[in-house]
Symmetry: C2
Subunit: 317 residues, 2 copies
């Protein structure tokens, strides 16, 4: 039995233009890392949280990395002690699925250390417990792609119905995380409770087009479908200069450019590593014109989800 | 050059559960037949309309079979005379794309007789002129599948963006056309102009699921996704006994059962010819309990669209 492991779980982009609350995808970079060491004495403790500026709770029943682990141990009626180190490399409150990355990393690591009693895709309900602890709502559009990799459709929440969407081999994502604060709860509050039927029709035409484009590897169709007529027009007012940045990004050869999750991060899809990098530079330049600083990331779409970084094969004494 | 042709164009099912205004598919049966004979003297005339109970206009600028032909001839600045015979085998006002079948048959036949100057898929704008003449609105969700065959997504109307969706090889449709009158304009009027965002999210989760299920040949996913929370709850009140019929159909092994277009016809998808037939019988039995008579049709999904029945190779003198 292994007694120690370090894993990575990816950041993710939820909503994806026209897929509000039902679509998300994982990226290769950034993501959170979690180290778990089995202990002889029972109890799950967080010994270290790195990179959170002291903001995250260390109580295991409050932190999104440990809540899924506690649920998992409870499910199996196991009283295994664990010492957890969390390395936050996904900025919190960024719209990049930071809590989902921690939740997935935690339960993914614990499952391996306990001999993989459960298949990876079945860990979703536990990871959702972590998301709920962090956000108050168990939204699956970050957790599911972080766990399963690739593009994931949440067809339904009641019952939970999660479907992985095949995507083109060459698909890249650029993310810009501006130094702005947008609280998920605020971003949700400003949305209208009722929307015009005619706009909803445009939106479901686009989500159907996006899914078809991804599955057919039809980049032009993906690009034409990456339009959000419901949420983006409202939420983008929270992101200074969004329209100008989007225009510049599209002129760089992006397939689309939209808000990531509830923001303030924005993302763009493109066909190559080179364009993805160039888009990041354009995002940074354009935001700078509005005195908004920030950081950009680019990578291929992550089709694997979480992964093991190192593991210790030593037997527990 | 051919001087005479008889063609078939299929009926179609629009909306398809969760795809209101953006999705439709064609069936093998029923459909309209159109015969065109080239004439030496200019002018397009309808000499016969069979099966319409005398209800359709014979004026070429009013009938959906000839309006697309007139548009087509005008586009090419051709003054070719034609004599048209229309055999209506798709019941009008049934929610089965009756006018779309005529529109497609007309322009499909004319294009062939004139030496196929245009590819089949490019005939769509002309066929839409016919739909507009019949319905007042150029909705493409019947015309596009009738012309292209299979499942067709209308991703966008402005600009028109039409995408064919790959589907499972074994996919069957049953249609029941009850002897009830529901006018498309009435069926549209009773819809609400605004809908709750939370319902719209359910709907676009379902349309994304339906597209994914069709493209993956995942029948279970198709079935789970064939739910309409926006339009069906309102429109089904115009169809006596709808809920009971639907329940009985689902118990017969259907993948789904919903209103076809704006009704009153209903349709069901299933995995085999046998089940499709049984569903038709169940539909007829159940409607009879509510004193509603009608007719049922079943066939495979039509992946071809319109087809030539007979053609005359004689040269025009």
């Amino acid at each position: 039995m292994k007694n120690q492991i370090r894993v990575f779980a990816p950041a993710s982009v939820a909503n994806v233009a026209c897929g509000f609350d039902i679509l998300g995808f994982a990226v290769e970079y950034p993501g959170d890392e979690v180290e778990i060491k089995l202990k002889d004495e029972p109890g799950v403790v967080i010994s270290t949280i790195d990179g959170d500026n002291g903001k995250l709770p260390k109580a295991p029943d409050k932190n999104s990395v440990t809540v899924p682990i506690l649920s998992f141990l409870k499910h199996y009626r196991i009283d295994q002690g664990m010492e957890i180190k969390l390395f936050k490399k996904t900025p919190a409150g960024s719209g990049l699925g930071s809590s989902a990355a921690s939740s997935v990393a935690g339960v993914f690591a614990a499952n391996i250390l306990l001999g993989e009693p459960m298949k990876q895709e079945h860990l979703l309900p536990f990871a959702l417990d972590g998301e709920k602890a962090a956000c108050g709502i168990a939204h699956a559009d970050n957790v599911a792609p972080a766990l399963l990799g690739g593009f994931v459709l949440i067809r339904s929440y009641h019952p939970l119905d999660v479907v992985k969407i095949p995507t083109p081999d060459q698909l890249y994502c650029t993310i810009f995380h501006p130094d702005l604060e947008v609280r998920t709860s605020d971003a949700r509050k400003i949305l209208k409770k009722n929307i015009p039927l005619k706009d909803a029709i445009v939106q479901w035409g686009n989500i159907a087009g996006l899914i078809t484009g991804l599955m057919k590897s039809d980049y032009e169709l993906i690009s034409r479908s990456m339009e959000d007529v419901i949420v983006e027009p409202i939420r983008s007012i929270l992101i200074p200069g969004f329209d100008k940045v989007k225009k510049a990004v599209m002129e760089t050869g992006a397939l689309g450019c939209n808000i990531s999750g509830s923001g303030p991060s924005i993302f763009s899809l493109s066909r190559s590593d080179e364009i993805a990098k160039e888009i990041g530079e354009v995002m940074a330049e354009q935001f700078k014109l509005d005195d908004v600083s920030g950081e950009f990331y680019y990578s291929k779409i992550n089709n694997q989800g979480p992964k093991v970084i190192t593991q210790d094969e030593d037997e527990i004494l």
